[in-house]
């Protein structure tokens, strides 16, 4: 071969560019384009060769470019409340403005919604469908109150799955090829496996992975799980991290030590990525894990359709407080956490409304100190630099005390 191997960073950039270029091209060729919720059953769309764009991911990109206010103002100006999720406001704004410096996306021919993340997404997509006069395809996933996804839910979702395929066949005028679906499932499973393997390298102490990189790579886990190139991307990223770990390297440059290991609960503050990251790094704090990247570790057996629908119902966002507390406590042990950082994200009622109770229970169970700060994923008006830094520094002081009490230096 002789060719130099591409780094995962290069692969990620190329794949992201291709993801959006493919969608634009599909539109130009008159092929159907879908806008899809972030944890929807992309296997069906991929198998039917439908181009997909993920508004949540697109909104995050707009937020990271500090461009979100233009779209938020548009949505609010058209009557959407400030209290609605800012991903929804950015995307609804985009559906009207139709251009962003960060990234242009084609308008959809139908919307593909799965309510396994929240109810906001349902109303958001209904409004898009009405405004743009296009069909909405919905997979309803009952909330999981118990320890397991009940059998009746699996049966119900399997029927929906078949129904959705029929709807899409009607929209596209094409038939679903079961063989192709099987292939895509295989690929998606493999991609999810390597995604998990890569971010799990942070278990090592010090972690070779900087948590903010995980936020970046997550884009591919959300938008391209069904593609062969994504498997390659995550495998490459995993190998790089493994190599770093074996060489005893930490998350950052040599000499920049990881002093504290924390979990970040909730979505990143895309509009304040650099401040949130640099403030933590300044105190030697590395985000070694988070509650939500694991959501895209969607796994099931070979050609196991029951397993597939179940996977889409049994992730963190669709589960009870008990599940979240168990999960976080397990992460605390596995990743040897010194602290927990709760992003009280004004946008996301789903994550926020249960946060106080989760904090209380996780602290009672693990004794790990925590702090929460106000912010938002894409609405820059909520976050405050000075308040964030005081909270982070205070958490560091508490973590330091605990370390000293344990007999450290």
């Amino acid at each position: 071969m002789g060719e130099e191997r591409k780094s995962s960073k290069q692969l990620l950039a190329e794949l992201q560019a291709k993801h959006y270029a493919d969608a634009q091209q599909a539109k130009a060729e008159g092929k159907p384009v879908a806008w899809s919720a972030s944890i929807a059953m992309q296997e069906i769309l991929e198998a039917m060769d439908i181009a997909v764009v993920y508004p949540e991911n697109h909104a995050a990109a707009i937020g990271a470019r500090k461009e979100s206010m233009e779209f938020i103002n548009n949505a609010e100006g058209r009557g959407y409340s400030t209290d609605i999720c800012s991903y929804a406001r950015v995307n609804i704004g985009y559906s009207d403005i139709k251009h962003a410096e960060a990234q242009d996306i084609p308008l959809p021919d139908f919307v593909f919604c799965c309510d396994n993340l929240c109810n906001t997404v349902l109303k958001w997509y209904e409004n898009l469908a009405k405004d743009l006069n296009i069909p909405m395809v919905l997979v309803n996933t009952p909330f999981v109150y118990d320890d397991e996804v009940p059998e009746r839910s699996v049966k119900y979702m399997r029927k929906e799955f078949d129904h959705v395929i029929r709807q899409l066949e009607e929209i596209t005028g094409k038939k679903m090829d079961p063989k192709r679906l099987e292939e895509v499932m295989e690929t998606s499973n493999e991609a999810a496996k390597w995604w998990k393997a890569a971010y799990s390298t942070a278990v090592k102490n010090p972690s070779p992975l900087s948590g903010f990189d995980m936020f970046n790579y997550m884009a591919a886990a959300v938008t391209m799980r069904g593609k062969k190139e994504t498997v390659e991307l995550f495998r490459t990223w995993h190998d790089e991290l493994k190599e770093r770990g074996e060489a005893g390297m930490g998350p950052w440059k040599p000499g920049e030590d990881e002093k504290y290991r924390v979990l970040w609960d909730g979505i990143a503050c895309w509009t304040n990525l650099s401040t949130t990251f640099k403030t933590l790094k300044k105190y030697g704090v590395n985000v070694v894990c988070s509650t939500y990247p694991d959501i895209w570790n969607l796994r099931y057996g070979s050609n196991d359709l029951d397993g597939l629908v179940k996977a889409y119902a049994e992730h963190y966002a669709n589960r009870s407080i008990k599940f979240s507390v168990d999960k976080m406590s397990a992460l605390a042990e596995e990743f040897q956490l010194d602290g927990i950082l709760y992003h009280s994200n004004r946008s996301c009622k789903l994550m926020d409304f249960r946060q106080y109770e989760i904090q209380r229970q996780v602290e009672a169970r693990t004794g790990i100190p925590y702090v929460s700060f106000d912010g938002d994923q894409t609405d820059p008006r909520i976050f405050s630099d000075a308040q964030y830094e005081t909270r982070i520094q205070a958490l560091v002081e508490v973590m330091e005390n605990k370390k000293n009490a344990k007999g450290g230096k």
């Binding site: 209380r360 909520i382 000075a386 308040q387 005081t390 205070a394 002081e397 508490v398 009490a405």
Partner: protein, 260 residues
């Protein structure tokens, strides 16, 4: 000599400890970050302690203005400094309530004055000293008069809004509906106390509870907090200076640790 400086949003405070860890200088100036208040208050405390800047071995700065002050050896958060300061004055407190101009916090501490957990107000001003300042303005009284006014209250008037701006209009409608200034002042205190009680419960606060920060000088606020938390809340001595004293204790400890 060891100096602790607390630069708040509306006042600056300095505490000086001598070699025997005794308080020899304490001063407050009602000028906050970005003013020459820091120099004025430092001069005052130096004169009181009878020392010159050359006698200073270590300085710790805390408070809202800590990041921009350049004359200190180290900066430490208000949270840790209030805990240290409280332990210096009163060793058996388990929970500290600190209501300052910009924020309100509930801090749980161990016997050595180390923070074990804490909770701070959300980004808005509800439950902070600023809320009371706004209330005093609407009631057309001095901040320092709120306590006496509230003590004279005879009737429950509830201020239910958590937002300072909305609470302001709520108070105005209460007044135009004929409620007395005293009853409204009491209602404002209760609103702050309820807000702080929520934070107290969130960190599973435990008695004995003490209060630091400027708002602890408001006696009726202490009563309302005690009612709301169903336990006696006691102000520490020099509540406004707790952060500066804590910073001075840190200066003392850091200096001696470095020497070892």
């Amino acid at each position: 000599m060891f100096v602790g400086i607390d630069i708040g949003s509306s006042s600056s405070k300095v505490a000086i400890l001598n070699e025997n860890k005794e308080l020899v200088g304490l001063a407050v100036e009602n000028l906050g970050t970005g003013t020459n208040g820091i120099q004025i208050v430092l001069d005052k405390a130096f004169t009181q302690a009878g020392v010159t800047p050359e006698d200073i071995k270590y300085t710790v700065v805390t408070g809202y203005g800590r990041m921009t002050y350049e004359g200190a050896d180290t900066q430490i958060t208000e949270i840790s400094c209030h805990a240290k300061g409280t332990a210096f004055f009163n060793c058996d407190a388990k929970t500290i309530i600190d209501i300052g101009g910009q924020d309100a916090k509930v801090i749980k501490i161990d016997a050595a004055g180390n923070v074990s957990n804490f909770n701070m107000n959300e980004k808005c001003a509800a439950g902070t000293g600023r809320f009371l300042e706004v209330m005093a303005r609407v009631l057309d009284c001095k901040l320092g008069d709120l306590s006496d006014l509230a003590k004279a209250s005879k009737k429950d008037v509830s201020i239910s809004s958590v937002c300072t701006v909305f609470a302001e209009s709520e108070v105005i409608s209460c007044l135009s509906a004929g409620e007395s200034i005293s009853d409204v002042a009491k209602g404002a205190h209760r609103a702050v106390a309820r807000r702080v009680a929520g934070m107290y419960n969130r960190v599973s606060g435990e008695p004995p509870v003490v209060m630091t920060g400027g708002v602890a000088l408001n006696a009726d606020m202490i009563t309302c907090l005690s009612d709301e938390l169903k336990t006696t809340v006691t102000p520490v001595s020099h509540p406004q200076l707790a952060g500066a004293v804590g910073a001075a204790v840190f200066a003392y400890e850091k200096y001696h640790k470095a020497k070892k």
